[in-house]
Amino acid sequence: MVMLVFGLILYGALQTMISTKIIGSFWELNIILICVNIILSASLNLINGYTGQFSLGHAGFMAVGAYVGVVATVKFGLPLIVALILGAIAAGFLGFLIGLPTLRLRGDYLAIATLGLGEIVRIVIMNIDYVGGAAGFKGIPHLTNFTWVFMTMLVTLFFIKNFANSSHGRACIAIRENEIAAEAMGVNTTKYKVMAFTLGAAFAGVAGGLFAHQFYLISPTSFTFMASFNYLIMVVMGGLGSITGSIAGAFVVTFISAALASFPEVRMIIYALALILMMFYRPQGLFGYMELTNVAPIKKFLDKVSGVKEVST
């Protein structure tokens, strides 16, 4: 509840700064991009961080959401909200279909299988002339704005946070910690793995829809496995299994690439070195398993605000 209020305050502040032009259009675009990336990294975190299933095909699900979304708005004239929902359903359904057989695989094999599936999605889209083929889909109306993206992001974060804290989420965490032990304790591992995969894919689809309606043009080249790597890096950088981490990871990665936009040659070199050094000195990511809401002083403050009495021992 308190976090929701904070979210709305942040929204108000940013929206005021955007409408009064304190934040220029370059940074406005990047704030929107950060919000889209937060949806993607949080949803990937559900699969990789909470359930411990290594997926490298997130860009593929995003692509499905994006293309279904633009077909809905451009070819059928549906409103954005319907397009986003349709994109989410399509991506989620694909995630379900793909998840059922591939989630039997473990570790590296799953990683490489999902990478392959993401690429197949991209190549299939490239060969469908109805959506523009390799040249991309042009003439998409600019329907996304800051409000849409921010509100969708809040909904996504709340959903994923609540999912992670529910009994389903705990089953997922049990699978991450030890799949065989979880199964022995009566957790239906296939069910929860597929559930996490489907939900993650569906939210990636939503993010894809928002992304597509921001940039007037989408092309299959935006959804290569390099893009999937990027989302994975956000999740790992922030901390696997931490929503706060996903937010921080998406923010840091997007912010760094925006800030270094004027030095394109060195940008990726710095990025690569930062990544390697991060793995050396803080492999658990910025936040590890920790949530910002669990850091002692903040937790105390939150409990105070929401009226939870501290249990004295």
Partner: protein, 295 residues
Amino acid sequence: MDFAHQLVQQLINGVSLGSIYALIALGYTMIYGIIKLINFAHGDVYMVGAYIGFAAVTIGNLPIFPALLISMALTACLGMLIERIAYKPLRHAPRISLLITAIGVSFFLEYASMYFVTPTPRTFPDTSLNFAFSVAGFVVNGQQLLIFGITIVLMALLTYIVQKTKLGKAMRAASFDTETAQLMGVDSDRIISMTFCIGSALAAAAGVLVGIYYNTIDPLMGIMPGVKAFVAAVLGGIGILPGAVVGGIVLGVVEALVAGFLSSTFRDAAAFAILILVLLFKPTGLFGKNTNEKV
């Protein structure tokens, strides 16, 4: 020019492309076999090999064989250096950290070379191999012969090293069970280093051969062949050397057939479709044995 004729012609093209995949896949499979890492940077090592070969031919004015040897030697050093700097400190870290580091190294190699040699593709100079002859109506060109020849020589050499030398014995032992090998007196750090050395040299050879075959190289050329070579390694059974060769050649042939008979845009999809099918029906690969999971 009937169907059978075209089929055989595509097979010839497929095998030469497949030999290249096989050379890269060998490095993948050796490295995975020994430290269980999908070395995403391997494709970029192959790219660096191609550039070193290119520099040796154009700046050094060397003929193709010395250029190939220089490229293999320098790239082998690069491979060992990467292992020493980036992977060795993470020997006991979680697997995901190692994987992310490999992605980081891959980005670094791509964009550092882009910084130094500019992103424009370079054209490999004429190698006096641009002759082609036909056997019973099938065209085989000089580059393809060179690829077949060098691949066969390198594979024979690799088989000798792995099967007959002490180093090879140690490598096989370490890949079977690193800890036990260490207890038996195998210096696993040295073996891992040598594995990267050999794997990178093979990738460099593949890079130079691709430069000669397709005539053009660029800093991002390693991404796709890198992933596909991994597919080849999985197809043959990861960690198994003959498997990587067979996987590479099968992949090359399938790609050539798809490109020749269906559509060249589906070429890449074919590789990944094979991957998914293999993983679903025989995840251990064509040559792999099923192992039971221990709790």
